[in-house]
């Protein structure tokens, strides 16, 4: 009986791992397939491109993962990104001498402010995250239009030092990649090795007992949305610098890609679960899809449908795997 039980435990505990390995396996098979069709896929140059292009998605996904772990969702990040990117770009336009660091700081601060507002709505009023962020998405997007007057800030209006933020590199590694790596290291540590980081999981896993055991649930929620905002603000600057243009409709609908990366990466919308390692493979899969579909000469018009289909497939397979393990455990109990 006792032996049987420990086997059961092993079974269920490893579901997450099976999922992650399955996803990695899928990524490998996909890569091999793409490589066979187009040998330029696995070249250093293309891989560098791939990772550079995925860096912003990965930044946003870390923040979104934390939000989803607390049982929330943030639909406003596309708009926040556009707002912070636009304000930063306009500042750079009027002050070409502005140091890139200050530009990054400015964008991050704007994002942080947006995040704080949303955090307030979610934590302190009883508005559901989906509604609060839906509303603020409209507000932030409208503000972006309003501030810019609907006009673009284009490449020639930006200083070269500003554009250098996203195009430059240290030791041959693109700044974007560096920023992403540093962010991941910081948040890996924060999520797994600090008390505050673990509280995020506790709040998402069981809000009632988190309250009873003296965790400040409101503050944790607020913090999570503020972090999401700050990361989005940072991403806004990077985005504008990378594409060398700031538009009012920048990153419209991009929140869906970010949520998709999280969900594919095994972050459960029911809250409480999600790991950085899983998230990375989710981000990687989306990055590969974005990168490889053009290489395969897939029409750009197929990309959305393929993406939507894969997300749906990933979440359904994930649900089925989980169910199957539960069933096996029951049979195990019977014996």
């Amino acid at each position: 009986m006792a032996e049987n039980k420990s086997k059961t435990v092993l079974n269920r505990g490893s579901v997450q791992k099976i999922r992650e390995l399955g996803l990695l396996g899928f990524i490998v098979i996909l890569s091999v397939f793409i490589q066979c069709r187009n040998p330029s896929f696995l070249t250093a140059e293309n891989l560098n491109d791939l990772i550079t292009n995925t860096a912003i998605l990965s930044l946003l996904s870390v923040g979104m993962m934390m939000v989803i772990i607390t049982r929330g969702i943030d639909l406003s990040i596309g708009a926040t990104l556009a707002l912070s990117g636009m304000i930063t770009a306009m500042t750079v336009r009027s002050h070409p001498a502005l140091s890139p660091f200050l530009a990054l700081l400015l964008g991050t601060t704007i994002g942080l402010l947006c995040g704080i507002v949303i955090g307030f709505l979610v934590a302190k009023t009883s508005i559901l995250p989906i509604i609060a962020t839906l509303g603020m998405m409209n507000v932030f997007r409208g503000m972006t239009f309003l501030i810019s007057g609907g006009r673009w800030v284009s490449a020639h209006q930006m200083s070269s030092s500003f554009k250098h933020i996203a195009t430059g590199s240290i030791f041959g590694v693109n700044h974007l990649i560096l920023i992403a790596i540093i962010t991941y290291l910081i948040f890996y540590y924060f999520i797994n090795h600090t008390r505050t980081g673990r509280k995020i999981y506790a709040v998402g896993s069981n809000p009632q007992s988190a309250r009873i055991s003296g965790i400040n649930v409101d503050r944790t929620l607020w913090l999570v949305y503020a972090i999401m905002g700050a990361l989005t603000g940072l991403s806004g600057v990077l985005w504008v610098s990378k594409f060398a243009s700031a538009q009012s409709n920048t990153a419209m609908g991009y929140e869906m890609n970010v949520i998709a990366a999280c969900v594919v990466g095994g972050v459960s919308i029911a809250g409480g679960t999600g790991k950085v390692s899983g998230l990375l493979s989710g981000v990687l899969l989306l990055g590969i899809l974005n990168n490889a579909l053009p290489l395969l000469n897939v029409s750009p018009f197929w990309q959305d449908a393929i993406q939507g289909g894969i997300i749906l497939l990933a979440v359904i397979v994930g649900a089925l795997v989980r169910r199957n393990t539960d069933k096996k455990n029951l049979i195990g109990r019977e014996e």
Partner: protein, 498 residues
């Protein structure tokens, strides 16, 4: 230093409309296992919540090691060294065992504020080994069984250096052997000087484990006895307040012909090889420990869960039931165990609650007839004697007993032949209990066939014409009401698999 580690004097707590505790006293010595007993609604949970700081008393004093203390919130009681293990695990299912044990008092590197996982894992494993657990500290909490989760809760208490551990019905979801493990752990904790307050409905828990027992009844303190000094009858009398035979109406029914026959019913992991019959006008008691598969069996008959094997015959012909609506069409009704979550829509008035299971009756071609709805609701609410001001009173405003009566009234809207009642008196006060028993007897006399699931021995013995006992998913005994006794039922419910 006082000779008591924890002492409560004259505790009174009033909630809007209810006096939950009335001048209750309690004394706990170091290294003692103290059973706290009483019926549902006697005030045990409120009492525990006072000690753990979830509620604050209106009157009364709390002394810890002889000093008066004020416990304003759960953190205060934690600091004093009081830990509680609740009936429903309050854990974080998505976190590891180690984290569950240490949450709120993690080991932290004083300089970097980094969590010391290695140290915590090792220490957690130490606790687990000490408690004889068969799982690792890095396991996810949701992968554990209820019994294993309880061990984690105990380890959590140990890690917080608890000197007083409160166990709230810890054995209610455990198998016999798991309970035995828990007894062993509790004893070794006692021997090392920890005091335990043990709340249970089960006499066997108390006799096996406790040194001393305190009884609460109707929010009041009744008395404290040494376990060896008090007889079973006296204890029951103390808990119930009168001879229990008064509670049950006389059995004076004539049984009709067979209406339901279940043959070889099985569902992997829940129950197997279940066969029994039910006659018109009969009250069939279905008992066994929680987790024996009683609820799952009845829910399968009602179409909430599927079954893998076997057949159900209704009045001689085989039926297939895939959904509660099928069952209701065939004349089978089910009163769920958790009336608030499964039986009622709390935000709705009585009239809508009562009519929900019989919308066809109050509608023509899908159009609601609200006058008819009110008429039916009024008739049925009167029939089961619901105490309410009007049929528009919201279900959440009623007392537990009246809520239960509304759920019974819901059953009566449909043309039922068979009624399954799952723990019909759970959390209901004594007065409402006897009212529910009276309704049940009335229904049986009218020819309804009734299956009553219950864990409470007196009501099984007092109400049933025939009794089925389940253990680990199988029926282990069948006996008539006359030949049944507490001992026989317990033996069938608990005996180890040969």
């Amino acid at each position: 230093m006082s000779k008591y580690i924890l002492e409560l004097k004259g505790i009174t707590k009033t909630f809007p409309g209810v006096k939950a505790l009335d001048n209750v006293c309690f004394q706990l010595k170091p290294g003692e296992i103290h059973a706290l007993m009483g019926e549902n609604g006697a005030g045990k949970s409120t009492f525990i919540k006072i000690i753990t700081g979830v509620h604050q008393p209106d009157e009364g004093e709390i002394y810890f090691k002889g000093e008066q203390v004020v416990i304003d919130n759960p953190n205060d009681s934690k600091k004093l060294g009081i830990a509680a293990i609740y009936q429903h695990a309050t854990s974080y299912p998505d976190l590891s065992v180690t984290e569950n044990i240490f949450i709120g008092h993690e080991y932290i590197c004083p300089q970097t504020k980094r969590l010391l996982w290695k140290k915590m894992n090792a220490k957690a494993q130490e606790y687990l080994d000490e408690l004889g657990a068969n799982f690792e500290s890095t396991t996810m909490m949701k992968a554990l069984s209820v019994a294993q989760q309880q061990i984690v809760e105990i380890a959590k208490a140990l890690s917080a250096n608890a000197e007083v551990i409160i166990m709230d019905e810890p054995t209610s979801s455990l198998t016999t052997s798991e309970s035995e493990d828990l007894y062993r752990i509790a004893e070794s904790l006692r021997d090392s000087g920890t005091s335990i307050i043990f709340i249970s409905h089960r006499f066997e828990d108390m006799y096996r484990l406790a040194d001393i027992v305190t009884v609460l009844r109707d929010s009041k303190y009744i008395g404290t006895w040494g376990v060896n000094e008090v007889s079973n009858e006296d204890l029951i009398k103390a808990m119930v307040g009168r001879e229990i035979t008064q509670l049950f109406p006389e059995k004076k029914r004539v049984l009709g012909k067979e209406i339901l026959k279940v043959h070889g019913l099985g569902k992997i992991g829940y129950f197997s090889d279940i066969s029994f019959t039910l006659r018109k006008g009969e009250i069939l008691g279905l008992t066994g420990l929680v987790g024996a598969g009683r609820t799952e069996l009845c829910q399968a008959i009602f179409g909430i869960h599927s079954y893998d094997k076997g057949h159900i015959y209704l009045e001689g012909s085989e039926v297939e039931i895939n959904h509660p609506s099928d069952a209701m069409q065939l004349g089978i009704g089910y009163l769920p165990e958790d009336r608030q979550a499964q039986g009622l829509i709390l935000e709705w008035g009585l009239e809508k609650n009562i009519s929900l299971s019989a919308l066809d009756k109050i509608s023509r071609n899908g159009w609601l007839n609200k006058k008819e709805e009110i008429k039916i609701a009024k008739r049925l609410a009167d029939k089961v004697n619901v105490k309410a001001r009007s049929v528009f009173d919201l279900a959440k405003q009623l007392s537990g007993g009246n809520q239960q009566k509304v759920v019974v009234a819901k059953l009566l809207t449909a043309d039922l032949k068979i009624i399954i009642l799952d723990e019909p008196t759970k959390g209901v006060d004594v007065g409402a209990k006897s009212a529910i028993f009276e309704i049940m007897t009335d229904l049986a006399v009218q020819g309804y066939a009734i299956i009553m699931i219950s864990s409470e021995m007196p009501e099984i013995l007092g109400m049933s014409d025939r009794i089925l006992v389940m253990r680990e998913g199988r029926i282990t005994a069948e006996m008539t009401g006359e030949e049944a006794s507490q001992e026989r039922i317990l033996e069938a419910a608990m005996k180890k698999t040969a």
